[in-house]
Amino acid sequence: MKKPRVYATEGSIWKSILLTFPMILLILLFTAGGPPDLSTPEKSIAFLTTFFFLITLFFLILYTGKTDRYRAIGFVTLALFFALTFIVNLIKARGSMTFSQENLLACEIPFCHIVTTMIIIPAVITNSIIFPGSIIGGFASIASMLVIVIGVSLALGRGFCSWGCFYGGWDDGTSRLAHKPRIKKVNPVFRWFSFAVLLVIALISAMTLNPAYCDWLCPFKTVTEFEKVTSFSILMKTIVFLSLFVALVIILPVLTGKRFQCTTLCPMGALLSLTNKINAFDVRINKENCSSCEKCVKACPTLSLTAEDMTAGRPSITCMKCGKCIDACTKSAIHYHIKGTPNNKNYSWARNLFLYPAFLLLVVFLGGTMQSGIILLINLIKTGNLIY
């Protein structure tokens, strides 16, 4: 059955163009940071491709009323281009994807948002940060990344995991590879695993003064940087994180259609779930329209919806606000919502007010990364060499 139109922009070219216009200005501001640099053909191609790609995605989100379908295209693109540009930059700067003792001793390791989960308790107890990075200045400094974590948590809560995280696109992408997942039912209890990981990791990190998740578990070291294997213990760590990447980022998402790494292992996901409580946006079910078909339950990549959650009228706090359940619902019974406002009206307002900051977050991370990635690819085509 065709879904009834619920958003003012849905099916209306003019309204969609009108609401895309502010985003065009924001995209210009955040991808070019002023007048775009069109000084070389490579830069022009990179800028224009990125610019039109982002505008098209936002327009289609408004015009079709489908959020997740187009969000996911941008989000997976972000993960791929982030890995490409990060690895190439590392190889240019250090000669390999591995970091050395020199980088560790000089406190030159880029701070990733996930480390936040491991530094909070030690910061309270020791009044310092247990991470070999730079406090300020340089690439991905601790202060700069913490400002982003605080700002995004306030504005979008766990929406970060679906709109801004430069790793999340990996299992978001692999979870879509199989048309029909082989494992159809996954026990929703798995959604609480990341909270257990958060608790254990935070305590172990505090006791050992060592960011234990980064050191031992983080599967995304596979697509960013990792320690050079110089000892048996580093070899063990390498086997652990590579195995987790294969299992949680590739195999299980393909088999289940769920974002397994983000749902079960990522401590940052658990921490951001808690911040879902303080920001303005959530997802709600309008029970009057709901036919209990449970299409949304099947669609949710993070196991955040169960029959009980539907009775409660909202997903669990683990919701990443990806919009997949909203796209899946044929009755328009599930929608973005602003806390404190009526549940059954103003769907367009709530959705649009959410879409601007959420899509802008994607723009901020994808804009620059995609341009750099395209320039690398053009040079690869021209010279046959990625690391020129």
Partner: protein, 150 residues
């Protein structure tokens, strides 16, 4: 009443909408302010700790830091950082005996091949355990040594 309650809700949504651009546009300013908070310093286990004493040995300047606790609770594990520097180039071989607690008794002997990075540490007292790290850092050579608390 419900309509009245919806006003702050929409206002908070608009604030959330503004937070994202402000977070990124003013990131440097906020980061500088955040960096001034007292906890915003790298833990000595990673930074190497405070300098204890700096002295000259022939043409080599040796900086011995204060030992730092390597774990949070109750453990006897400590780490010590020693930095070797020399104007111009580092020597091919650094061969030094270090008295880290300045009690006039040597605590360990270290031999570093600065070309290959090969490092040999010989404990001369029981609280010195092993070499944790040894690497060129910018123009200097830095070693970290595992110690047991005295």
């Amino acid at each position: 009443m419900k309509k009245l309650l919806a006003i702050p809700a929409y206002l908070w949504a608009v604030v959330c909408l503004l937070i994202i651009p402000v977070t990124f546009i003013r990131n440097d300013t906020f980061a500088e302010q955040l960096a001034t908070l007292s906890f915003m310093k790298v833990h000595p286990v990673y930074s190497g700790g405070e300098l204890n004493r700096k002295y000259q040995q022939d043409s080599l300047t040796i900086s011995v830091n204060k030992p730092v606790s390597a774990t949070l609770l109750g453990s006897r594990k400590q780490q010590l950082q020693v930095t070797f520097s020399q104007k111009g180039h580092l020597p091919g071989i650094i061969d030094q005996t270090i008295d880290y607690d300045f009690d006039a008794n040597p605590d360990f002997k270290v031999t570093i091949n600065t070309a290959s990075g090969e490092t040999q540490l010989t404990p001369l007292v029981s609280d010195v355990r092993s070499c944790l790290a040894s690497s060129k850092v910018k123009e200097d050579w830095v070693i970290r040594v595992n110690l047991d608390k005295k």
